[in-house]
């Protein structure tokens, strides 16, 4: 192991123990690690956003030379610069629009100019609404209804398949019953209420399954951390 690998292992191990110390009770070591995490992670995402979005997708369009200066090798420099300079001028200058919107976003910090940030928010909202409307309609609505149109009587190799038929019946009527439960424009009484009640049962099974999987996920992450601590302790002896 190199010196820097040792440093990484030891710093990582100590910080891990500081976070775990919270399990005993809140203490200055945990608070130190927690506050360090907040600062470091905020800066990490800012740096990533700067180098992967702001420079190549905005500053590089105005000043392609920047992309040439930060390229790994002369061939890449030539490639990325010509990819930009080959574009029509209007396509490059159009990137002023998100720059202006971005600056408008920063006006939120000002006492008087904050109304300008609404323009940036409007773009974000419009983009999210426009994209989500079609995608969710296609994948999470139409495709889901199509997947629910399944045979209630399943014949396999010429004979009635009880398990497959029962499963399909549970899926079809389960989806309908759970959807009826979420329909609050009609009072849940009579046959409607009974169907909504059976929808609750289906949802409870789904939530139980989700709980089981959540427990599994958390334990897996703990196993990973214990494995790391084991590697750290191994390096000591």
């Amino acid at each position: 192991m190199t010196v820097s690998e040792y440093i990484v292992l030891w710093v990582g191990g100590l910080l891990t123990l500081m976070i775990f110390s919270f399990l005993y009770k809140d203490n200055p070591f945990y608070k130190f690690a927690e506050h360090l995490f907040v600062g470091v992670s905020a800066a990490y995402w800012m740096v990533v956003a700067f180098w992967t979005t702001l420079i190549p997708n905005m500053m590089g369009y105005f000043f392609p030379g920047i992309l040439g200066k930060i390229a790994t090798n002369p061939q890449e420099a030539e490639m990325v610069m010509s990819a930009i300079t080959d574009l029509p001028m209007y396509a490059r200058l159009l990137r002023i629009v998100p720059l202006i919107f971005g600056l408008f976003m920063l006006t939120r910090l000002l006492p008087k100019g904050a109304w300008l940030s609404r323009w940036a928010m409007a773009f974000i909202i419009g983009f999210s609404a426009g994209t989500n409307l079609t995608r969710f309609l296609q994948s999470d609505f139409v495709a889901q209804i199509k997947s629910t149109l399944i045979p209630l009587i399943v014949i396999n190799n010429g004979s009635f398949d009880f398990i497959a038929s029962m499963s399909n019946i549970v899926i079809v009527f389960g989806v309908i019953a759970a959807l009826i439960y979420f329909f609050f424009s009609k009072e849940h009484k009579g046959w409607f209420g009974k169907t909504a009640k059976s929808g609750i049962w289906i949802l409870m099974v789904a939530f139980g399954a989700a709980f089981g999987y959540t427990v599994m996920a958390r334990i897996s992450l703990l196993i990973g951390r214990m494995s790391f601590l084991g590697t750290w302790i191994d390096s000591i002896f």
């Binding site: 399990l23 005993y24 990533v48 956003a49 992967t52 979005t53 997708n57 390229a71 790994t72 090798n73 061939q75 890449e76 490639m79 990325v80 990819a83 994209t131 995608r135 969710f136 296609q138 994948s139 999470d140 495709a143 889901q144 199509k146 997947s147 789904a206 399954a209 989700a210 999987y213 959540t214 427990v215 599994m216 996920a217 334990i219 897996s220 992450l221 703990l222 196993i223 990973g224 951390r225 214990m226 494995s227 790391f228 084991g230 590697t231």
Partner: protein, 300 residues
């Protein structure tokens, strides 16, 4: 006697949570030290992924997206490893990318573990390529859907994309035979289904963390060919691979850290049992308290 019982039950109900923490810690650490391992059997939902990758003709074009970070390495790393190993075994051409900035580093580690160390005959640019991370989330999927080379003008190392033989006939997402996602959160497998799979009728499969897995079941099997959920899902794919290719089992056994999902199922199993035990004990104590309260109300 009743007093003894009620005092014990009350004490159990008010048990200091640090005792529970210690028991959970022991439930994980002791099996790890004992290297407790159980055989794992693949389930149909994971076999769907194995069968699809296995049945693709040799040399098929596979897109693998590493969309996770260090926080979910224990769950996602064995998935990515197993999928990459399987693709290399079947001589598929693997195009590696990432929707997460942290995904590129994870992909590089998988490439080093699997391809550089085990598949010495595989050539970069001919059998696999690392396209790397590009910002954009689902916008990136949108962009490469119609023009992959427009977004990826170079590979992750900055080399002109057109210099690689395997990029010659690959121009958009619909040129791929399958998309395999190793994902955790957003953007992830759901976005691959919504923006690529459903839109272009491209087969999609992959693995997600156990927290997300139940939410993606509605996509199975028409929109998702198969789904690995958490560590168990990864272990099942490793078991399916190992059953067909024993050399893979040897590779996994020799791997350090989180790669061996089958081995990590040992502490996982014990921890699950401990949690079930806690819930049962908690409920028994609750019912005893409820019965006691009822008796006090009745005046017995």
């Amino acid at each position: 006697m009743a007093n003894k019982e009620t005092n014990f039950v009350d004490r159990m109900q008010k048990l200091d949570r640090r005792v529970i923490f210690v028991l959970i810690w022991l439930a994980v650490v002791i099996p790890m030290l004992m290297k407790l391992e159980f055989p794992v059997r693949p389930s149909p939902v994971v076999e769907g992924i194995f069968d699809k990758v296995e049945s693709l003709p040799s040399g098929s074009i596979v897109l693998m997206s590493f969309d996770y970070g260090p926080a979910t390495v224990p769950e996602n790393e064995p998935m990515g490893d197993a999928l990459l190993y399987h693709c290399m075994l079947k001589n598929h051409k693997v195009y590696i990318m990432a929707l997460w900035p942290t995904g590129e580093a994870e992909a590089n580690r998988a490439i080093e573990r699997v391809i550089t160390n085990k598949f010495l005959d595989k050539r970069y640019g001919k059998d696999y390529i690392q396209l790397g991370f590009k910002a954009g989330n689902q916008g990136l999927i949108n962009a490469i859907y119609s023009d992959l080379k427009g977004m990826y003008t170079t590979d992750a190392a900055g080399v002109d994309i057109n210099t690689f033989a395997m990029m010659k006939d690959v121009n958009k997402l619909t040129d791929f035979d399958i998309i395999l996602g190793v994902c955790s959160g957003r953007p992830g497998l759901k976005e691959w289904v919504q923006f690529a799979g459903d839109r272009g009728n491209i087969p999609v499969a992959g693995g997600v963390t156990a927290v997300e897995a139940p939410l993606l079941y509605p996509y199975y099997p028409s929109q998702l060919l198969g789904l690995m959920g958490g560590l168990q899902g990864a272990a099942e794919l490793q078991a399916a691979l190992g059953n067909k290719y024993p050399e893979y089992t040897e590779y996994v056994k020799a791997s350090a850290g989180s790669v061996n999902a089958v081995r990590n199922m040992g502490p996982q199993t014990i921890a699950h049992l401990v949690i079930i035990f806690f819930v049962v004990i908690g409920n028994i104590g609750f019912f005893i308290q409820q019965r006691r309260k009822k008796q006090e109300r009745v005046g017995l």
